[in-house]
Amino acid sequence: MGFLAYLARRAGSALLSFFIITIIAFILCRVVPGDPALLMVGSAVNPEEWFKEYQKMRALLGLDRPIYEQYLIWLRDIFTGNFGVSYRFNVPVGPLILERLPATLELVIPTVVLALLIGVLLSTPKFFRRMAWADKLASGFSFLGMSISYFIWGIFFIIIFGVSLNVLPISGRLDMGIELPRITGFIIIDSLLSGRFEAIGSFLKHLIMPVAALTLYEITLIHRINRSSMLSVMKEDYILMDKAKGLSQFHIVFVRGLRNALIPTLTLLGVQFTVLLSGSVIIEKMFAWPGIGKLLVSAVTYRDLPLIQGIIATYCIIVIITNFIIDSLYGKINPRIKYV
């Protein structure tokens, strides 16, 4: 058994979560917004003709088939990237989403990295006698921060740094007038590739507030969970033994303790990641950040069904990929998982 069994198990659980998530997404796609065939038929002169037209449209959309078949077709469409054509932009949905996706990742990835680093770091002063003040500070911040969501941070930042002090831009990804050829869609990579380094500075200025708003909120959550899991780990016999072996407190906290404490924290991070995706929708809207969250809001406003479906599927894929990454990290950090 060993590694193979572990792989099989992981693939099994990944498959299960994949099905559940896609089924939810599918159901969501089916409930919005009402009957797509109805929307597309338009009006006809007499009811009988209209009904025929309507039936034809349903057959065309596959709505007359049994529900599980519809689900399978929907799945196939997702994986071939065939989401249809956006009503509003009149272009295929797949490329439209791919164009916006990098912007969302530009918000989400730095947030995860920063929040994890800072949140974990803030949970360590508790275990150094001389750093008691830092722990008090971090815990106080954490308690207040729990009640201040990314939404509120974002508004405060806009008012303070964007409007009153007027030091940071409050909308978009780049200053007006900076033209950047689109290569990968990630601004930093594109500006490095095309040699337009001035774009990086402008981009970072635009990035600070949205990322800070998301990060500050995530930090409090990671800090709380990691601190409490550190508290229980540091009471374990093996930590006492590590101390008895003569390891320094620094080594004990940052290597021996943290490695154990991160196991539950990582589990939380998986859950927390979807909260972060939620946050990115709001923050994108707030800072006019051209990602898929902002696209979703406008797609809903314009009742652009194919686009809504495509975005839901995209979120679904992001969640599945993240779960897989976290799962692999989890196996790396926790040797026990291989044989459980």
Partner: protein, 323 residues
């Protein structure tokens, strides 16, 4: 000069329910190469005593008073970094809970090697060779495989052997064995005890053997002392303690041990000590054992902190009967 000299050591736990006086004025001395037994019931403060010597008493515990002279230096006066250079190098510990005492996400190899690297400055290659040698010493089969494994893949007995290897790795002057046999089964117990004994001889370390089992202690030690509710009640060479115990508690304890160990069928009769150990936060006034004592006198409940009286050479008793 003696190797270790503990004077009036007091370690208290400041719990929300009150102050627990886990070690309350313990003094003793031991020589180089000696094996000293510490015997007492669960909760008598033996483990805390052992941890106090290494200064690794967990929160909310605190060493509040006393001196611990190790090779003449007072350990309580050392800085934390000086102390960590001493731990695992000159004084080490074999814990009570082998399975819980190895850090789960680290391999056995790294957990043994790091002591050698940190304290003796070994290179990775040297440390590996010495690790294999140590595993041979503690009689572990299939050593290469064990090195690569993680703690949860090992049995309790195996973990204990690894921990013994770690404890003796740097040839320390003093090893504190804290009930090393409590959580392994009977057959392994005997193996572990004889292993500790042979390692101690091989490496020339002194040994403090903490146990609740008078039998084990008597087979291993030359001298031992009896702890009860944080205090030493009696200290003597093993034969004297077994043949002519003086303190009423020791007498009772040895009676209990004999009645348990005897192979004669005694028709369901087991000797027991009346009552239960005192409340840790509110110890009785006067002699700590007075409420359960069968030979108590009137002044026993009045005189606090009874000192150890020397009744014979090397035989001390903390009891007013021997004033």
């Amino acid at each position: 000069m003696s190797l270790l000299r503990v004077e009036n050591l007091k370690t208290y736990y400041y719990t929300p329910l009150g102050v627990v006086r886990a070690v309350d004025g313990v003094s003793f001395e031991m020589e180089k190469g000696e094996i000293l037994g510490v015997v007492g019931e669960i909760g008598a403060g033996k483990t805390t005593l052992g941890r106090s010597i290494l200064r690794i008493v967990p929160e909310p515990g605190k060493i509040v008073d006393g001196r611990i002279l190790f090779e003449g230096k007072d350990l309580l006066k050392l800085s934390e970094s000086e102390m960590s250079r001493l731990r695992g190098r000159y004084i080490s510990i074999i814990p009570e809970t082998p399975i819980l005492s190895l850090n789960p996400p680290f391999t056995i190899e790294s957990q043994i090697k790091e002591v050698l690297k940190k304290h003796l400055g070994y290179s990775d290659e040297e440390a590996r060779r010495e690790t294999l040698h140590l595993l041979e010493q503690v009689v572990i089969p299939d050593r290469e495989a064990i090195l690569k494994s993680y703690p949860h893949e090992l049995s309790g007995g195996m973990c204990q052997r690894v921990l013994i290897a770690i404890a003796f790795a740097c040839r320390p002057s003093l090893v504190i064995a804290d009930e090393p046999t409590t959580s392994v089964d009977v057959i392994t117990q005997a193996q572990i005890v004889s292993l500790i004994r042979s390692m101690q001889r091989e490496y020339g370390s002194s040994l403090i053997f903490i146990t609740h089992d008078v039998g084990f202690a008597s087979k291993l030690c030359r001298r031992m002392f009896i702890m009860y509710a944080g205090r030493i009640l009696e200290m003597a060479p093993v034969e004297k303690l077994l043949t002519s115990p003086k303190h009423p508690y020791t007498k009772a304890l040895i009676k209990v041990a004999y009645s348990m160990r005897s192979t004669k069928p005694t028709k369901g009769y087991l000797y027991t000590i009346k009552g239960s150990p005192p409340s840790p936060t509110q110890p009785p006034k006067g002699c700590i054992f007075e409420p359960r004592c069968e030979e108590k006198m009137e002044e026993c409940s009045k005189i606090d902190s009874i000192p150890l009286f020397e009744v014979e050479k090397e035989h001390f008793v903390s009891c007013l009967l021997y004033r």
